[in-house]
């Protein structure tokens, strides 16, 4: 038999792609069950209104309609949509509005019919009598006296105020050469997964068993919460996350529809399907960011930053979803970025507004932090007329300082920030590009060079960092089962939806056991098959799920070595897995076929003392610490001063995510991440008008960039393994997004620097840029 090659570190194509490309994967909408009904939800056209009455009878009479319900019908039957993050004010969040609607897109009624067309006919027949109320969409206005109050019982729109004071910050402000102050708004964004949400629920009355297919990132955590909402035992609910067409944090949640559709299936005793429409997705699936910070920077003339202070106002929206008030935390803790800034203080005011709830969105708190840190570096460079690269070098945490405690109280695991900066600047040929920029300026052209060095936090982490009310911690689970025929099944608690663990985990297992990658199947997203797991978010799949896998593989390796050792009469410590055998490390000719050992484990004809039959191991890995991926992105742009349009000339990214298992997948994550980061800098914005109408409710308005709106990426990397886990990995799902937003932003602002333009709101739309240039030229 041919020698089995090594897989880790090789450019392996994603093993999940063929079925997705050929349309043979199964998404929620592909689930078709006998007798299945379709549900559609009627949504509020008002941002804030009292519901006087809802007339359902005409809708109920439409032929083909099975049920039409509104919020009042569900009181005491379905519990509140959960928020597990701590906050002073956590409102009751009904699955369909009761008495009041608080944002455009809030569910008001549901129609269940034999098909979607009839369900829509029914929705058209529902009459809701609303009394519109004054709405508030600006979080700063929402805090003012006299602002309309969203939840009367709290008498305020404050959700909670979190403070991290530090007297050293004020001392630093007093002694610094200069205190620089400005305001940053990380605008509201929509995650826009290609596949919207969707739920199919089936109730089997004889078995009293509920099955939920949902497009979710967290099948187990969702099951726990829905069990609570429906007062069902967790062992009576089977959740399946089939193919999930993108999540980006928006599906790290528990939504009204997951409980509502389940309730309908139980009461109607028929399977019910609900597939979210794009307009619903843009209005009623969690948004991201929407964070204002008033920033104060204490800095010296030589570029040294002494302290940072931030007063945050964080828009939570109308209700709190699963982790809503927890997201801004990392924006504060991580805002010193890659820098040894000694003092940090911040407070975060979370606010209710008449908008959809915000929650995790690719980066979840860290893009805001990186944006603050990188705007800080640029501001200091501008203020003291220093080169922005030099200011970064001056402040970087040095390579020798790791593990590095930070002003935010974190400990960065490992890093070499200057290396990524130098590599990126070499690639771009920094001095030459600066010279070209100056030459272009003489011709009246506006070329800009943007730098962003970022560090982020992944693999979160020790369970104590997660909210106490979350039924689950920061750990992850994995079962590895070697089947009697030698094939391996991996059952992981992470729930990949594009990250590619079916490939990376198979690479790892194949190398560890000396077998072929095609002999490994990775199963995930099914609560009846895999042990309780936490899911996929926060770039944790390989960082936390990987070590759990390694633990189970290790247990099976130890067991098989023991069996082999008895059969070969060689001490187990002298054995290793190689090319489908267990062989003596010192003498490869002394070996036993892996299959012989597997058969011994299953056949168990010879009892081995202290070794149970079978080859199946389950492990739960609790990380001891978080990991901190980092990198530097550099962009060169040209701004058309007459139309405000931005054109990318170069985009270089140097990312370090620790040890790389699958280079092709890492590049894919970085590319997609950069696209979403640039999207925030230049294109995307969820926009509500003052009355709370959503102006970006379709993809004809909300500008997700197409390939032709993005640059060609020059991707480089450095490798600084993490000491935190056995794989040395750090996580890469969000890195690109975190680096790209400040990089693209800084590039555009650098192009406009000679006009004295220092500060523009994102997205940097052509009109925004054109106005700034026009006003600067007038002045």
């Amino acid at each position: 038999m041919a020698v089995v090659p090594k897989f880790v570190g090789e450019r392996i194509k994603r093993r999940e792609d063929p079925r997705l490309i050929t349309g043979t994967g199964q998404y929620v909408d592909d689930v078709r069950l006998p007798g299945m009904l379709t549900a559609l939800v009627l949504r509020s056209p008002y941002a804030h209104a009292k519901i006087n009455s809802i007339k359902l009878d005409a809708a109920q009479k439409v032929p083909g309609v099975v049920a039409v319900l509104c919020g009042d019908d569900l009181k005491d039957k379905v519990g509140s949509v959960p928020c597990v993050a701590p906050a002073e004010h956590v409102p009751y969040h009904p699955v369909l509005a009761q008495g009041k609607v608080r944002f455009v897109g809030e569910g008001v009624a549901v129609a269940v019919a034999s098909d979607a067309y009839i369900a829509q006919d029914a929705l058209d027949q529902i009459e809701v009598d609303y009394d519109p109320l004054e709405a508030v969409t600006d979080p700063e206005q929402a805090l003012e006296a006299g602002a309309p109050i969203l939840h009367d019982e709290f008498k305020t729109n404050s959700v909670t105020l979190a403070s991290v004071p530090n007297p050293a910050v004020d001392e630093a402000m007093n002694k610094a050469d200069k205190v620089i102050r400005f305001r940053i708004h990380n605008q509201r964004l929509a995650p826009v997964p290609m596949e919207p949400r969707g739920v199919v629920a089936r109730w089997e009355p004889g078995y009293k068993q509920l099955t939920i297919w949902s497009s979710t990132q967290i099948p187990h955590l969702m099951r726990s919460q829905v069990a609570d909402m429906l007062k069902l035992g967790e062992n009576k609910i089977h959740v399946i996350a089939p193919e999930v067409g993108g999540g980006f944090g928006a599906k790290l949640n528990v939504y009204a529809e997951e409980a509502l559709i389940s309730h309908l299936a139980i009461t109607l005793k028929r399977p019910v399907k609900w597939i979210e429409r794009r307009r619903e997705n843009l209005s009623g699936t969690t948004h991201g960011r929407d964070q204002i910070v008033y920033l104060e920077i204490a800095a010296n003339k030589d570029g040294e930053v002494l302290a940072l202070k931030g007063r945050f106002i964080c828009d939570m929206g109308a209700y709190l979803q699963l982790l809503t008030p927890a997201i801004p935390g990392f924006s504060g803790l991580m805002m010193t970025g890659c820098y040894k800034i000694p003092a940090l203080a911040f407070d975060q005011q979370m606010v209710f507004t008449n908008k959809m709830a915000t929650d995790a969105y690719r980066g979840a708190g860290r893009p805001e932090a990186a944006f603050i840190a990188e705007r800080t570096m640029e501001a200091v460079a501008s203020e003291f007329n220093l080169d922005p690269a030099d200011v970064r070098r001056k402040n970087f945490i040095a390579k020798a300082s790791f593990p590095a405690p930070t002003a935010g109280g974190l400990v960065y695991d490992s890093g070499d920030y200057e290396l990524t900066l130098n590599k990126a600047l070499d690639q771009i040929d920094y001095n030459k590009t600066r010279a070209e920029q100056a030459a272009a300026a003489k011709e009246g052209r506006y070329i800009g060079i943007g730098i962003a060095s970022y560090v982020e936090i992944c693999g979160i982490g020790p369970s104590a960092l997660l909210p106490p009310k979350l039924k689950g911690g920061g750990w992850e689970s994995c079962t590895v089962r070697i089947e009697p025929d030698g094939k391996v099944t991996v059952l992981t608690g992470v729930s990949p939806h594009g990250q590619g663990q079916e490939t990376t985990f198979a690479q790892i297992v194949a190398d560890e056991l000396g077998i072929d990658i095609d002999d490994v199947t990775v199963v995930h997203g099914d609560t009846a098959l895999v042990p309780y797991g936490i899911g996929t978010f926060g770039s944790r799949g390989t960082t936390v799920g990987g070590p759990a896998l390694m633990m189970s593989v290790g247990k099976l390796q130890a067991k098989m070595k023991r069996i082999a050792s008895t059969m070969m009469e060689v001490p187990p410590e002298q054995l290793e897995f190689r090319n489908r055998t267990i062989a003596m490390a010192s003498d490869a000719s002394k070996s036993i076929a892996l299959q012989t050992v597997i058969e011994a484990a299953y056949g168990y004809k010879t009892v081995i003392e202290g070794v149970e039959p079978g080859l199946d191991a389950t492990s739960f890995y609790e990380p001891s610490a978080c990991t901190f991926p980092f990198g530097t992105h550099v962009a060169v742009v040209e701004v058309d001063s007459q139309t405000g349009q931005v054109k990318f000339l170069r985009y270089v990214a140097v990312d370090d995510c620790g040890k790389v298992i699958s280079p092709l997948l890492v590049e894919g994550q970085i590319q997609g991440g950069i696209a979403q980061g640039i999207a925030q800098a230049l294109y995307e914005e969820v926009k509500y008008d003052e009355g709370g109408q959503l102006l970006s409710a379709t993809l004809m308005d909300y500008a997700v960039p197409k390939a032709n709106m993005l640059p060609h990426y020059e991707l480089l990397s450095t490798v600084t393994p993490s000491p935190v886990n056995s794989l040395g990995v750090k996580g890469v799902g969000e890195a690109g997004t975190i680096g790209a937003t400040p990089c693209a932003y800084n590039a555009v602002l650098d192009a406009l620097k000679r006009l004295g333009i220092r500060d523009l709101d994102m997205p940097l739309k052509p009109e925004t840029i054109w106005r700034a240039i026009r006003d600067a030229k007038k002045a």
Partner: protein, 286 residues
């Protein structure tokens, strides 16, 4: 997302289509590529009881050259216009305009007749049709009539096409010697439609303008000829372009939306008009 119920009719001739239109009157709508009509039906903003699908009327999809004119059937897709060797050779500006519409899926389904008849204020073709002085053939049960582009676009989503009529052909004069044309657009980053689109067609006599035609879309409720720009250039040399282009938005009530204010749109119209005219001149000289 889920249209109200309707009856679907697929016809194989213009005659059959006209018969159904007169039978059902207001209740019926022509279905061509469906890329404007179906989105409206899915939102139930349009609820026609009858759809008359002309997709199988193959003679309406043809592109031919006859007596110095290019004749494009109303059912010709954007893709077929973009890739037609006749159009590329004789009306390159129109092929370029078609190539800038939407994305490949839209260009494969959408038709020139549908686009012109729908008259979206941000559609691309209307600007080119105006600058190229296209002539539309409309058929009704009583026969045919021809309408010049300048008389075709009446208002927001409103054209000279009457109820019961079908736009069967769009006719263009091939670009002659000494003539150059360019279409430039500022693409809306989400929809891909023209925030502003400018088609400029110029004929030079020596170094001076003999004829200038500028069509602008996206700026207001309907596409229009920028006659003040055209007049300002009559008989002048190309150094007059900048001053003339500054009139591009004169007298137009410019549209504002979340992406671009009217003020910015007007500026884009001026900048793109100047650039389109300069490039059109360069093409004549090349």
């Amino acid at each position: 997302m889920f249209p109200a119920s309707f009856e679907y009719h697929r016809v194989s001739s213009v005659k059959d289509a006209l018969a159904l239109l007169s039978q059902f009157g207001d209740e019926a709508k022509i279905l061509a590529g469906g890329h404007s009509l179906l989105p409206m039906m899915k939102l139930r903003l349009a609820q026609p009881a009858h759809l008359v699908d002309i997709g199988a009327v193959h003679e309406l999809a043809q592109i031919q050259e006859q007596g110095g004119r290019i004749l494009i059937g109303g059912l010709a897709t954007h893709h077929s216009v973009e890739t037609s060797s006749i159009v590329k050779a004789k009306l390159p500006i129109l092929a370029e305009c078609a190539a800038l519409i939407g994305d490949i899926q839209v260009r494969n389904r959408g038709t020139i007749g549908g686009s012109l008849a729908h008259a979206d204020p941000a559609a691309d073709y209307p600007a080119a049709a105006l600058a190229l002085e296209a002539e539309m053939t409309l058929e009704n049960p009583g026969g045919k009539r021809k309408v010049k582009a300048a008389d075709f676009f009446l208002d927001l989503l409103t054209t000279a096409v009457q109820a019961g009529e079908i736009l069967t052909q769009v006719s263009f004069a091939a670009l002659g010697a000494g003539t150059g044309g360019v279409y430039l657009k500022h693409r809306h980053p989400a929809s891909g439609f023209a925030t502003v689109g400018v088609a400029a067609v110029v004929t030079l006599k020596g170094t001076n303008f003999d004829k200038v035609r500028v069509g602008i879309t996206g700026l207001g409720a309907k596409a229009f000829r920028a006659s003040s720009v055209e007049k300002a250039l009559a008989g002048k040399a190309s150094d007059a372009i900048a001053a003339a282009a500054s009139h591009a938005a004169d007298g137009v009530d410019a549209t504002s939306d979340t992406y671009a204010s009217g003020e910015f749109r007007a500026e884009l119209a001026r900048v793109y008009t100047r650039r389109a005219l300069e490039q059109a001149v360069a093409r004549v000289k090349a």
